[in-house]
């Protein structure tokens, strides 16, 4: 298992447009992935799970991967969030 924490800097958080791109990115990886903060947990491969989680600006989330490509998956998703500016 491999995980990283990342803070959402984008002023609009993870809204529908980047959420769709994020899900497309997550779907490329084989490992199981979760995003969590406080008591909330969601599946980054499901747009509905992602949008239901209300990932807003300023939030520090933990991206966790479990599987063969866990490291590259978590690093890629973390980079997407840290570079998001729209």
């Amino acid at each position: 298992m491999y995980e990283r924490k990342v803070t959402i800097k984008n002023p609009s958080g993870i809204h529908a447009r980047p959420a769709a791109q994020f899900v497309k990115l997550a779907e490329q990886f084989q490992c199981n992935l979760t995003i969590s903060y406080d008591t909330v947990e969601c599946d980054p491969k499901s747009i509905f799970s992602l949008l239901s989680a209300d990932l807003h600006t300023g939030l520090t989330i933990t991206i966790c991967g479990d599987g063969d490509d866990e490291k590259i998956a978590v690093d890629s998703l973390s980079q997407f969030i840290s570079l998001l500016e729209e």
Partner: protein
């Protein structure tokens, strides 16, 4: 042209004609351009494939080259087709320098896109450089409205309008809509800008949404058409996909709280009911499956459900959708219709309201009968045969060469709707060669069917009327040929029993023979069945 004028008028764009100049499209420049970009997106497959050539040419190629240089300089990659479409609008830039202003110009001039627009198009007036910059920014445009300061009130009104359009369409009030309103308001605070300027943007999950959530996508699309007329901006299908995501996320979040329609799924023993129910629930979040049953168990279920979705033909007088286990596009359409019918035809309101309004005009002794007729009109069960045999399945022809061609022609509607594979037609012909006499019932009608050797996808019936008749092996002319396909042995007897109703008397066959085209035959068939 009238329809085109009306559609354009929704967006305050006017289509007019004069003998001197021909057709012209007038209106505010930005409105004209957003409508142009909307229709270019719809027509793009024809343009890309070279079928429509009015928008391409030397000037278009020159613009495309410049835009690709801008793409390299910006170090980003535009989705396929985006630069092509922007190149088409570039041909019209600079036509009227002072006709419009771009919102938030102060923010736009700070962008790299604005710098590139000025570098590669130095001849353009300022407002056109800004317009081109906005097109290049597309969906990446920054959050330039005051979401940060919490000023969402304008967009809340838009969000509530859209929700109201959806609620009117499905005749259902969405519960717990505060969160949905907020999410839509935030989305619209960015997307209204895209609608206004006709910006090209893509939903990364558009193909998944339009296939896996097709039912909800189609409903949202209809609601958005109404919404776009109200706000005066066209909204393309990618944007509809985004909005569908929000609605579906809302239903997903509120899966136990919304006013869902309770569905009983009826299947045969061999089918995987739970997998099919899950597939349907994912596609149609407004439905909630309360359980599965065999056809024989339907009555015992009592009143625990609102509607039935069945892969089997039923003896059932309520609202039900007869689908195949493959859940293809025809099945999904039937489920949408079932849902809308349920929501629209409320037993407590439509029929009774109509009766109460006309009651004062009816003699007292006739009121009971009239009320019965109204109820039958609104809630008459659809006979099973009409579920199996639709308008496209009924054909009329003057003559056919031989009985084999007659079978092929009669079976063609079932092939065209993917109910059968081509091999089933071979099976039918073989059946007649082996057992022909069993299928002839003596009154100029012939019923053909064969075993399901994996060549039948869904049960169906088709019918062909041959004016001049065709001789089968019995050497008696056959004028009505009925083809039956049944998905399994259990269903087969039910389907055959239904099909026989079509020609079990001379009067019925005579009525069909008086017809002269497909439509007349269908109307007669419908009358026979009802």
């Amino acid at each position: 042209m009238k329809a085109a004028r009306e559609r354009l008028a929704d967006y305050k764009v006017c289509l007019s004609f004069s003998n001197q100049t021909g057709y012209s499209v007038t209106g505010h420049e930005l409105a004209r351009r957003s409508v142009f970009m909307y229709y270019i997106s719809l027509l793009y497959p024809l343009i890309r494939d070279g079928i429509l050539t009015d928008f391409t040419g030397e000037q278009h190629e020159s613009n495309l080259r410049k835009l690709k240089q801008i793409e390299n300089e910006l170090k980003i990659h535009f989705q396929d087709g985006t630069l092509d479409k922007i190149a088409m609008i570039c041909q019209h830039l600079g036509s009227d320098a002072n006709s419009f202003q771009i919102d938030n110009a102060k923010e736009i001039v700070k962008t790299q896109e604005y710098f590139c627009a000025g570098k590669y198009y130095p001849e353009l007036p300022e407002c056109e450089k800004l317009y081109l910059s906005v097109q290049l920014l597309g969906g990446r445009i920054r959050d330039i409205y005051t979401v940060r300061s919490g000023n969402l009130s304008v967009y809340r009104k838009y969000a509530l309008t859209l929700i109201h359009c959806f609620e009117n369409l499905v005749n259902m009030e969405i519960e717990n809509k505060e969160q949905l309103t907020y999410n839509l308001a935030r989305h619209l605070s960015r997307s209204i800008y895209r609608y206004k300027y006709g910006l090209i943007d893509y939903c990364a999950l558009e193909s998944e949404i339009t296939t896996q959530s097709k039912g909800l996508y189609e409903l949202v699309k209809m609601a958005v058409q109404d919404f776009s007329r109200k706000i005066g901006y066209p909204i393309n299908n990618s944007e509809v996909a985004f909005l569908t995501i929000h609605f579906k996320a809302h239903f997903h979040r509120n899966s136990f709280n919304t006013d869902k329609v309770r569905v009983l799924l009826v299947t045969s023993e061999k089918e995987d009911a739970s997998a099919l129910a899950k597939q349907i629930e994912q596609e149609f979040p407004m439905l909630h499956f309360i359980g599965a049953a065999l056809p024989a168990q339907l009555i015992a279920q009592g009143k625990t459900y609102d509607v039935v979705i069945s892969t089997q033909l039923l003896k059932y007088n309520g609202l039900y959708a007869y689908i195949s286990k493959y859940l293809d596009s025809r099945d999904k359409q039937k489920i949408i219709e079932l849902y809308i019918n349920f929501r629209t035809l409320n037993e407590e309101s439509v029929g009774n309201n109509l009766f109460e309004r006309i009651k004062p005009y009816i003699l007292k002794e006739c009121q009971g009968k009239v009320q019965e007729e109204i109820h039958r009109c609104f809630f008459a069960p659809v006979p099973n045969l009409m579920l199996l045999l639709d308008r496209q399945s009924v054909q009329y022809t003057d003559r056919v060469s031989n009985w084999r061609d007659a079978i092929a022609e009669a079976a063609m509607p079932l092939l065209e709707t993917d109910s059968i594979l081509p091999e089933y037609i071979d099976d039918l012909i073989l059946y007649v060669e082996l057992y022909g006499s069993l299928a002839y019932l003596g009154n100029r009608a012939y019923l053909v069917h064969a075993k399901d050797n994996g060549n039948i996808r869904r049960s169906g019936v088709s019918l062909l009327v041959v004016r001049d008749g065709v001789k089968f092996r019995e050497r008696r002319p056959v004028h009505v040929l009925i083809v039956v396909a049944s998905i399994n042995r259990d269903e087969h007897l039910k389907v055959l029993q239904e099909a026989v109703k079509l020609y079990d008397s001379d009067e019925k066959v005579n009525a069909m023979l008086k017809c002269r085209n497909n439509s007349e035959v269908y109307d007669v068939v419908k009358k026979i069945i009802s």
